[in-house]
Symmetry: C2
Subunit: 433 residues, 2 copies
């Protein structure tokens, strides 16, 4: 009986929670949106894991905490997280914090539905349909099918099989495009399915000036394209597009599970698109892209793409003018792959240890920039090449001043390297002096 | 040269976008948070696809739109979407809009990072570790491994193979638990891997009163548990837990891709947990659960679980007291599966058409509730059973009054059914009179 009585009142204090949300939103706007995109602030406040664990107080306890304590925790989470929207964050293929897309993401989170059926996601079922048709139009198809679904990467097995020399040359690291027309010829001759992984490069289709890089893509059978990368809409937004319009997705992935997809509904159940994917609950990934597209139009998106290309060309030219930079290859897309050669190594290509010494430069520069918090850029080895930096600029708020800073900062952080012994590759964690 | 000059200024108007965000947040709080959880508002404003398409103006154009037009669109998206946080939304296993978790999701979206490496997600790498350890502790393991990753459902092939009679009895529809101890005995004897799919039922582990339903789970090798369902943290939050602590995830899924996971970093790269999953970019799914846990503690979560059980018992007892309700089975968990038997069918079990007539009742009641917008609950057939409703109450703001309304509303919507001819299973779309 006592149990019955407790059910007369809500099980959570909604007014208190709403007050918390409003205060937290202020902190979020301040720390996350404004400071997080302010070039005068750090990209990240580096802490070693042990110290950070201490600062955050992560333990989960039996009892809840006060609103003030929770707000302090939100502030700490924001403070010690990396600001991927910062104009000097270049570490990932995604960067930048577009506030139109962010609005779409906030609405998505609040509505918290699943992109499965028309009855629980009427707006998003129709919106996804329109967006997929638009993306297919960009590919060059007037018809077809598709779905927004989280992407993956090559499995270890297929990765190794590729690396035995049968790998297409287009890669995410170098930003190189395969000759799609020639490949389509071969596929046609041998009746092979042609899938184009345009997860990264697909956004070039938006620019009349650059879409020729993907000439022939219209002959593909399927295309993967991730607008969350170059178009700054936020993780994740990955489209899988199909030229086929015979219902292949449904036939491949559909379980026909009647507990999820009833057939005897009063509306047209072809709108229940959730059975096209093996996922059960599928997040709504279309609103953020749709809202951004509505806000700036196809031309606005194209301008962002062209701006990214222009930045890459600017950086490549600047690097050729400066002494210490060496391009791995001329950029074809917006990936700028380069080594920084410290003064002590310049003109020493004959030194048998030149490449091994050069390969140790990027990790040290990276360590220094992270501890300083001044910027963030990725490095990796690739095939025969020792560690090099890969610079990619997709954030629309970046200006030339940020790129000049980038070049100057690499020079500052790396000027003493190359000659003296380097720290071992896996040093003990040390605190920032 | 013209290109160089354009790079001197940001490529987007940040002040304008921020003003938009602030206005949109007001709309979101009003329409999404307040009205979306207000029992006096509709759960959904039903529109046929054609009409809704017209209302939303979904087309994507070359040029962007004004801020006012965009705000109007945000309002329409909210208005015509289903309110899954509404106290009368019972259609999915997830429901409810917890504002602590929502705060965590807003922060997650703003930081927009990938749960891949310590260098881009230091806070979340440590947070995921603590949460996974806590979930494992609930399972009964002092050690192990795990990952938050989007879930799936059975593939058509394995689905069919199961359905040949080798399927465990525990199901998401009925909310039934398998005898884990007995199954563990068999697995032990035959040296089989025991995976427990506790995606839905796992949250019962939080309650000292109900965790006995999962007795034996500590003997599993792996467990799937989705806190986004019963714990109201928002899609998605799916934990895969492993008893093994020898690095199995890394060995199974790791690509060792050096463009993603460099080994020569200055910090301890065992914190770069992204290589444990086949995903490339992995969303941060831990903050929302962590923040809720901090806010209400393990005891607060347990209270929510116990409240859900109490609601189910309340509904089951009420149904037995009322004439028109017939339980499919006594609820073991919080799934309440029932038929509504309209007056014209009561006591007519001898009618050879009884079950076929009864199976047509739920779709019509569902159509009526959707067009009215009064509530939303799912139905499905299952095995030998014709269409029945499955009622699940996880939303912590639900009170007994909402459940009384639910029962009364089912009676109101279904009282004239069962005798007269029914609409065909796939009628032409018709407008709400």
């Amino acid at each position: 009986m006592a149990e019955m009585i407790q059910l007369d009142h809500p099980g959570s204090d909604v007014a208190d929670a709403e007050a918390f949300l409003l205060e937290a939103l202020q902190i979020l706007l301040d720390e996350g949106v404004r400071k997080g995109t302010d070039a005068t602030q750090k990209v990240c406040e580096w802490k070693e894991p042990e110290e950070l664990r201490e600062l955050l107080g992560l333990e989960l306890r039996d009892h809840g905490e006060s609103r003030q304590s929770l707000l302090r925790r939100c502030r700490l989470v924001l403070r010690y997280s990396v600001k991927t929207g910062h104009p000097r964050f270049f570490n990932q293929l995604f960067s930048g914090l577009d506030l139109f897309a962010l609005t779409g993401r906030f609405i998505t989170e609040t509505l918290n539905t699943s992109q499965a059926t028309y009855e629980i996601a009427p707006v998003f079922v129709l919106m996804e349909e329109v967006l997929l048709a638009k993306l297919r139009e960009m590919v060059g198809w007037s018809d077809g099918d598709g779905i927004f679904a989280p992407g993956g990467r090559w499995s270890p097995r297929s990765w190794r099989r590729r690396s035995r020399g049968r790998k297409p040359s287009g890669t995410t690291v170098l930003g190189a495009f395969d000759p799609l027309g020639a490949i389509a010829d071969i596929c046609q001759r041998h009746n092979l399915w042609l899938h184009v992984d345009a997860a990264w490069g697909g956004s070039a289709l938006l620019s009349g000036k650059h879409r020729h890089l993907l000439d022939g893509i219209e002959r593909a059978d399927s295309v993967a394209w991730n607008p969350h990368k170059m178009l700054t809409v936020g993780q994740q937004c990955s489209a899988f597009l199909l030229r086929d319009s015979s219902g292949l997705l449904q036939r491949c992935h559909g379980t026909g599970a009647t507990y999820l997809f009833q057939r005897d509904k009063f509306y047209d159940v072809t709108y229940d698109t959730g059975d096209k994917t093996p996922q059960c609950g599928r997040r709504v990934d279309c609103l953020k892209l749709w809202l951004l597209w509505k806000a700036i139009g196809t031309q606005g998106l194209a301008r962002r793409v062209e701006r990214a290309f222009a930045f890459t060309r600017y950086l490549a030219e600047e690097m050729k003018r400066r002494d210490g930079f060496r391009l791995v290859l001329e950029p074809e897309f917006i990936n700028l792959c380069f080594w920084f050669v410290p003064p002590s190594l310049r003109g020493r290509e004959d030194d048998p240890q030149y490449w091994s010494k050069l390969g140790k430069v990027a990790p040290v520069i990276k360590e220094r920039m992270m501890k300083k918090g001044s910027m963030l850029v990725g490095y990796q080895p690739h095939g025969p090449h020792v560690n090099f930096f890969r610079q990619v600029v997709t954030n629309p708020v970046v200006t030339r001043a940020d790129l000049d800073f980038f070049l100057d900062e690499i020079e500052r952080l790396g000027e003493d390297l190359g000659g003296t012994p380097h720290p071992p590759p896996h040093p003990e964690p040390s605190s920032d002096p």
